[in-house]
């Protein structure tokens, strides 16, 4: 049977106090709970006895302990190092991938009739069927190039020049496509296009977005943007062909 709360609380107070007077008064009022009261009295007495008798031992001299890093601390450091290593690895990998993704001038040799020759330090480049001598590091429309092509169709020649100069070409309808031969030394791509246009009857219009529109006509009023700074240029038509 559960002891009523009021009696239970009083019983605890008496058991904790332990005075004989309080015990007698409780026993007088609640004789039915005497046994339980004495159990609690004994329990409290033993508990306190253990508490009183416990020794505190000798007080050791205080010496601050060395701060030993917890496992999570050095693991955190290790994780940081791994993270930094990983980031640098992937950053390097990505940069090298980007560099590889750039159109490599050498690959053109496989897809086009270009033949690579080592950069010339002076004099005339070695003549092959089609020879290009250019600086691969700067394949831009303004880079000065030395190009020589023999027996090549105009359209193919223009496309090769565009690939080298990293520009896109758009051809207007009725563009002639003769087989030609040309040679330029120290010309930029745009200068070559302008000069080829003068000789072969077309005009390259810079669209401003990296695209050059090739129109098969010459505007008599069109003024060349600037005189080319090329050293030498030569163009010859070998065979006339049908327009495309």
């Amino acid at each position: 049977m559960k002891t009523p709360r009021e009696i239970d609380e009083w019983m605890w107070l008496v058991a904790e106090d332990g005075s004989s007077e309080a015990v007698r008064e409780f026993e007088r009022r609640y004789p039915g709970h005497t046994l339980e009261l004495h159990r609690r009295l004994e329990m409290m007495e033993r508990l306190r006895k253990v508490g009183r008798a416990r020794s505190l031992g000798e007080r050791p001299r205080f010496a601050p302990r060395m701060n030993r890093p917890a496992p999570w601390q050095w693991m955190g450091g290790l994780a940081c190092l791994l993270l930094i290593g990983g980031v640098s690895y992937f950053a390097t990998l990505r940069l090298s991938t980007k560099a590889k993704a750039l159109p490599a001038p050498a690959s053109m040799a496989h897809t086009s009739p270009w033949n690579e020759t080592p950069p010339q330090t002076g004099g005339t480049p070695v003549t092959a069927n089609m020879t290009r001598v250019a600086s691969p590091a700067e394949p831009t429309p303004n880079a000065q190039n030395t190009v020589r092509m023999e027996a090549v169709e105009l359209r193919t020649a223009l496309e090769l020049l565009a690939a080298q100069g990293q520009i896109r070409l758009q051809f207007a309808p009725d563009m002639p496509n003769p087989t030609i031969r040309f040679s330029y030394t120290g010309y930029s791509t745009m200068e070559m296009l302008e000069d080829l246009g003068r000789h072969l009857g077309f005009t390259p219009f810079d669209q401003g977005d990296g695209t050059i529109l090739i129109v098969p006509a010459i505007d008599p009023n069109r003024r060349l943007a600037q005189a080319h700074g090329g050293q030498n240029g030569e163009v010859a038509i070998l065979t006339e062909s049908e327009t495309r």
Binding site: R46, V50, P64
Partner: protein, 186 residues
């Protein structure tokens, strides 16, 4: 009388704060004084939670090392003793969890018995076993109230709760202790 008591409490409070300030200013001896003054009480808290005197002694050193390192952060808003006891309670409970894990992972032949085996005239296996079966937080309440004879107000400050909450928690802990104690007879 009460004026005198209040004055002495105020002096003690001021003395602690003074010692803290002196230590923070570089006086190592001030910390020695705090250590000497509060060692016994801190040890009692640790022992109440851990039951084992060696573990308690070890934990007290860790507690004072923590206090030594972080005394600069003590903001004087509470009594130094309250701040210290709170650290002692938290650290001891933390250590008791670690000890329980440690004992779980030692071979059976090396495992410590359920009943603490401390020798001495105070040894009472029934009480010790009942205490050992309790949760550390409950055991702490019992030892602070019945062994250290701290008031409910002091216990409340140590635990960081109000006096009513401390009273309720103490009564519950006492009831659980009685259950464990009586189960030993059965």
């Amino acid at each position: 009388m009460s004026v005198v008591l209040e004055k002495s409490a105020l002096l003690a409070l001021d003395e602690d704060h003074l010692l803290v300030d002196r230590f923070n200013a570089g006086d190592e001896a001030a910390f020695e004084r705090l250590y000497t003054k509060y060692y016994d009480k801190t040890y009692s808290i640790a022992r109440g939670v851990l039951l084992d005197s060696e573990d308690a002694s070890d934990t007290v050193q860790e507690i004072f090392t923590l206090v030594y390192r972080h005394l600069g952060r003590f903001d004087h808003r509470s009594k130094f003793s309250t701040w210290l006891y709170r650290i002692a309670v938290n650290r001891s409970i933390q250590e008791s969890r670690r000890a329980r894990y440690r004992y779980k992972h030692v071979p059976l032949t090396e495992a410590i018995p359920e009943t603490p085996t401390e020798a001495g005239p105070h040894r009472d296996p029934k009480i010790q076993t009942a205490l050992a079966k309790m949760r550390p937080a409950d055991r702490l309440l019992i030892t602070l109230f019945y062994w250290e004879e701290l008031s409910l107000q002091d216990i409340a400050q140590t635990l960081g709760c109000n006096a009513n909450a401390a009273k309720t928690r103490l009564y519950r802990a006492r009831e659980r202790f009685r259950e464990h104690y009586e189960s030993e007879d059965a």
